[in-house]
């Protein structure tokens, strides 16, 4: 299969997008952006100086008063234009994601589509932002609520969905009248630069949307800056907890969507033919680098035959996954995004072996379609005989490693899953409505799948999360995120 044309052909140093201008950073700390499949340097990203970060926040602050008084209709017209531009550039944006992240082209196109859906839902702000009222709370006195924007919001983006995740927040922040500063992941910031080019072309006024490149230091400035009203973050639990704490001290709102360890429970009555592809997508989609990935496969039942049937089909299908460069349309799984990521995964595989799990499928020596360096590649890996106290069952691996557990019944499956510190996205595969209902009722997780392997809420629903998978009150997406980006002002009026 031929490789699709790469959109990034020349190595350029990325610029910040501040106050509607492309600004070159004066920083001498510059990182290479490496295509994880080919190992070629495709771009360079500066770690912006504190002054440059502050300038971006100031630009957002100065743009706020005028943007806040721009009518919601006029604001969403900008989003309509952005939506059209995103559609026109759909393929290029998708290929950029594959080049900078390594995911397959189907996954990148899926990510682009999801991002666009956020913009589409954001265009509904004139309705979504409406308050409510009640006449005659006492004779002749009326009371109503107005949702008002707050000011500048900062976003700290993850590497695993470099294009989509910032869009979980930015269209809603802007449409509600706030201004926004994005710090893309320094590992794969190019798609955010491409997005900013389209924001600019869509006519979103200078300062409303800003992109500033950087790392931990930039994120720290966001957390401490008095002009930032709130932070949205997607990343690890360790960092999310820290952000939540720091923002608590400085009085900022926070949405911190963090790590996960998701349980996929397969009941004996599950439709195996439909379940296996869903499990492949869940465990190995995006090379396991997603907070919605399946991590622990829990096969329910005392009967050896049904257990082996699921396990054999799972291992057999996983062993045939075509691994390679995602711009080849036949590839089903790309590389890890970085060498560090791969080393972390290899470390967990070693731990699994050391703690007594049985390695049924070993991805450490990868088979790759095409002539690419092994540097970031790991093939699908499956452990069986995993117990809940093993490290590979408890900690987020964030790679293509499945830990298979066996339990006697649904009660034990739910108890095992609820024993996890995380609560992001657990799923059950069954043909029993009763079992599904029981699972939905008792499982301690923000997103529940019933015969769905990737429980990714649509733009008009909140992206939920519990326990160590979420820090905050209101979630990203849906009505929650509208409330997050607005303050409820209550008016009580009496005319004498």
């Amino acid at each position: 299969m031929a490789i699709l044309e790469e959109p990034i052909k020349e190595v350029e140093k990325l610029k910040n997008y501040v106050n509607g201008e492309w600004v070159e950073s004066k920083s001498d700390e510059i990182l290479d952006i490496i295509n994880p499949a080919t190992q070629k340097v495709i771009s360079k990203v500066p770690m912006s100086t504190p002054d440059e970060v502050n300038e971006a926040i100031t630009a957002a602050k100065e743009a706020y008063p005028e943007w806040r008084t721009t009518t919601p209709l006029a604001r969403v017209r900008c989003l309509f234009r952005l939506k059209e531009l995103l559609e026109e550039n759909f393929e290029q944006l998708s290929r950029v994601q594959t080049q900078e992240h390594g995911k397959t082209i189907d996954e990148s196109r899926g990510e682009t589509r999801r991002g666009i859906e956020m913009v589409e839902v954001g265009t509904g702000i004139p309705s979504l932002m409406m308050g409510y009222n009640l006449e005659d709370i006492a004779t002749g006195i009326d009371e109503y609520v107005i949702y008002q924007p707050l000011g500048v919001f900062g976003h700290i983006a993850p590497f695993n969905f470099p294009f989509m995740v910032p869009l979980w927040f930015s269209p809603f922040a802007m449409a509600t009248g706030n201004t926004f500063v994005v710090k893309p992941s320094p590992r794969d910031p190019i798609s955010q630069v491409k997005l900013a080019e389209l924001v600019d072309e869509a006519g979103i006024p200078p300062g409303v949307y800003n992109v500033v490149h950087g790392g931990v230091d930039t994120a720290s400035i966001f957390m401490e800056h008095p002009d930032i009203k709130g932070i949205t973050f997607v990343g690890s639990t360790k960092v999310g907890k820290d952000i939540y704490k720091k923002c608590g001290e400085t009085g900022k709102r926070v949405i911190a969507q963090t790590s996960a360890k998701n349980f996929m429970v397969v009941m004996p009555d599950a439709d195996i033919a439909a379940t296996i592809p869903a499990l492949m997508t869940s465990f190995f989609g995006n090379t396991g680098q997603r907070c919605l990935s399946g991590a622990n496969l829990v096969i329910v039942g005392k009967d050896d035959t049904s257990y082996n049937k699921v396990l054999d089909a799972f291992v057999d299908t996983a062993s045939k996954i075509r691994v390679g460069y995602g711009l080849d349309e036949s590839i089903q799984m790309g590389p890890m995004q970085s060498i560090d990521g791969k080393e972390r995964v290899l470390g967990y595989i070693e731990k699994g072996i050391a703690e007594g799990a049985k390695l049924l499928l070993d991805g450490r020596t990868p088979t790759i379609i095409g002539d690419y360096p092994e540097t970031c590649f790991v093939n699908p890996t499956v452990f069986s005989d995993v117990t809940p106290n093993m490290t590979i069952a408890k900690e987020e691996i964030f790679g293509p490693v499945a830990s298979v557990m066996r339990v006697k019944d649904l009660d034990e499956a739910i108890e095992t899953a609820n024993g996890s510190n995380f609560g992001n996205a657990n799923a059950i595969f069954t043909s029993s409505g009763k079992a599904a209902r029981e699972f939905q009722y008792r499982i301690e997780t923000g997103n529940v799948g019933i015969n769905i392997g990737i429980v990714a809420p649509m733009a008009f629903f909140p992206f939920s999360g519990m326990k160590d998978s979420f820090f905050g009150v209101l979630h990203g997406q849906g009505k929650d995120v509208i409330r997050f980006f607005t303050e409820s002002k209550v008016v009580i009026q009496r005319w004498l």
Binding site: T104, D106, G110, T281, E329, I454
Partner: protein
């Protein structure tokens, strides 16, 4: 090699439709008495590509089984579009019917494999298969019966 990913299958669909359009353009040149029919088929092929691509780009999501939805053997559905100068009209029509049946089979198999996973894509495939089955194949057979 089998086709497993949605993008591969969409590319393959596009190729089938383009090859089919090439064939009917050749028919329109060679069998001018029914030129309009064949040109309308070729035009419909182009529309089918748009319909399939629209469904794919509209529904593809990071959360669905895009990389694991198919197990298509493309060789089962491939066909040769070349017409020999000496081929009679009825021989050519028989060839077209045979090709149509292959394409219908491809769409039907693709629907069966992906209907639990890909939402609008199998729906688009089903519509095209139905259109071919109910219109184009019947029209080709009618031309053939007139010729015979």
């Amino acid at each position: 090699m089998k086709l497993n990913t949605a993008s591969e299958v969409i590319s393959f669909t596009k190729k089938l439709e383009e090859d089919s359009a090439t064939l009917y353009k050749e028919f329109s040149r060679k069998f001018a008495q029914d030129k309009d029919v064949f040109l309308s088929f070729a035009k419909e092929n182009e529309k089918n590509i748009i319909q399939v691509e629209r469904a794919y780009y509209g529904v593809i999501s990071d959360a669905i089984e895009g990389c694991f939805a198919f197990n298509i053997n493309p060789e089962k559905y491939s066909f040769n579009t070349e017409l020999a100068e000496k081929d009679s009209y009825s021989k050519a029509l028989n060839k077209a019917i045979e090709i149509e049946e292959k394409i219908i089979k491809f769409y039907s198999d693709a629907v069966e494999q992906s209907k639990s996973f890909l939402a609008d894509i199998p729906r688009a495939f089903k519509m095209i298969a139905k259109k071919r089955e109910n219109n184009r194949r019947i029209e080709l057979k009618s031309l053939l019966s007139k010729e015979e």
